[in-house]
Symmetry: C2
Subunit: 341 residues, 2 copies
Amino acid sequence: MKATINDVAKQAGVSIKTVSRVMNNESSVRQLTREKVMKAVNELHYQPNLAARNLAGSKAYSIAFIYDNPNAYYVIDMQNGILAACKQQGFELIIHPCQAKSEHVLDEIADMVRKSRVAGLVLTPPFSEMPEFVQKIIDLDVDVVRIMSGDVAPDEIAPCIMVNDHAASESITQHLIDLGHKHIGFIGGESAHMSTVERLRGYKKALTDNGIIVDERLIIDGEYSFESGVHGAKQLMSEDVRPTAIFSCNDEIAAGSLFAARLMGISIPDQLSIAGFENSPFSRQTWPRLTTANQPNQKIAEDAANILIAKSRKQLAKNSVNHYTPRLIVRDSTGKISNLN
Amino acid sequence: MKATINDVAKQAGVSIKTVSRVMNNESSVRQLTREKVMKAVNELHYQPNLAARNLAGSKAYSIAFIYDNPNAYYVIDMQNGILAACKQQGFELIIHPCQAKSEHVLDEIADMVRKSRVAGLVLTPPFSEMPEFVQKIIDLDVDVVRIMSGDVAPDEIAPCIMVNDHAASESITQHLIDLGHKHIGFIGGESAHMSTVERLRGYKKALTDNGIIVDERLIIDGEYSFESGVHGAKQLMSEDVRPTAIFSCNDEIAAGSLFAARLMGISIPDQLSIAGFENSPFSRQTWPRLTTANQPNQKIAEDAANILIAKSRKQLAKNSVNHYTPRLIVRDSTGKISNLN
DNA sequence: AATGAAATTGACAGCGCTGTCATTATCAAA
DNA sequence: TTTGATAATGACAGCGCTGTCAATTTCATT
């Protein structure tokens, strides 16, 4: 049924080794031979067997995606990005959701690596931001790419993709300030995530640069969830100094803030501006639509996978560092400060 | 570095075949021997290599998930369900998003099956509902489970998981009727999806059973998207006979309907009741929260994977058929008909 | 204690491919 | 035309496991 390398070799009148060379795009195969082989490959619908390649070769053909993230849009975007890179290169994707808090995470990952040879792991926050954890993974003798928040890579132990949340957050806050807001609330995600720290930093920077004093009462610790947005907004709106704008650390929190505002009969954006972060599909599905910052997760993930693939082919000299800065997208949930307040 | 079956055999003082037997839970291994082997396995952190198993054995250890669905929540739920089954049984998940409309789908799937030995495919709509397509896949000599809409399996060519959209839709519509609504709009998803057809059927059944005449002007063709909900609701609310309630074919459409209602200054549920379908996370994240029907996607997917696993172990006599009926969840987007209308 | 059937174990080939190394073909330069 | 270097190809082992089948052990019966 399924054609093997032997069938192709026979049909093309060459040795299996030559077929192998063609399939792996190795040089030193004469053009004529290559064509003969490709003809047979096409006729037989030959597709090299991954298991056999994995077993026989020293190269790997899979990439693992490690995450602990309840955000479906994020996960799907990342998957699709990795998949795009994989498809081009004949790689396979192994998805590995896990609990950052579990004590077994490392064991689980180690088991996975023992079970399937893997070209490398795509590490997302919070894993990517735990230096000792990353080091332990590397000690497992696997390659790794870290996707993390920040403008400068923290160390050289692995290639990084840095997302400049600081700058993006600054531009969101600046946008709010430009609209006339002076009392701007901030609802954070998990403080263990660097993205929260960085976004808070950008928020403070913008305020300070504009001569606005940071009011700690307007800064709420939260987590990256809808519910957290609901609570955060309720809390902020019951402060003595009510903010006229809220910067929510991601779109889900923002949606929650929106929800809470509705409950309290506050109209958006007339009485309160709300901004999110991430540009996930549902920032377009709230009413009003959310002002946010676009984080190109799919591109980032594709990048990450390509780095791993290049590395496994020894085409990567040193640990590269790529940079992304989310861009402000103004929609309807933010507006000029009105005299209703 | 990584322990192989040889290392374990040596350490346990048995042959590799015996180790293999233990790892595969075969009978006819003495208890004492089994313990010796397991001791070595644990000491060496031995994990059988998947590639080698795939290559050597006649069994497969992967399940492929085939889908064409923009709904991130749906996909994640399904993945997690399959993954749960896989984890228990040492299987691996291969995700395969693809375009139902593309002419290459079948080739792509065929290539995937040639490349990785697979225990079977989990087919979701629309693939699962295309009989000729399913047959072609089966002709590829792969096992298949179909997850589809309906109360009776259409044929015997493969095991099915039937989701009774008809009954669920009927109970949603009945709920609306019980609240006093007589003009109930319906916004469908893609009409190529059986779920749309079945939900429409349930809707009509409930109306008819309650002596309400079906008004075709209140039935809008759409697709499973937020935008479609926006358009559909706008259209419905500009009819001569304005509906007092809208049954949207899924939560995204419902969210869109909600959005459109806001734009038009219609308050929910006072002036208009809106119901969704699926109970995706964001039915809880709109304002007001959506009345919907809970579709247990994760359970369904786990089921599907387990069927495939059982089948690949010849533990399944005939093609099984499982049934699920989504259950009504009443939240805040539906209410008694008011005299505002 | 001898017997035979059943339970338990092991030797060995081979899954489909790649890596290594040896062999052969090719071609410019002498 | 011969030579030598280089390009192109092939033979063969072996990756880590399972399937087959044969060898050995066990144990209830005689």
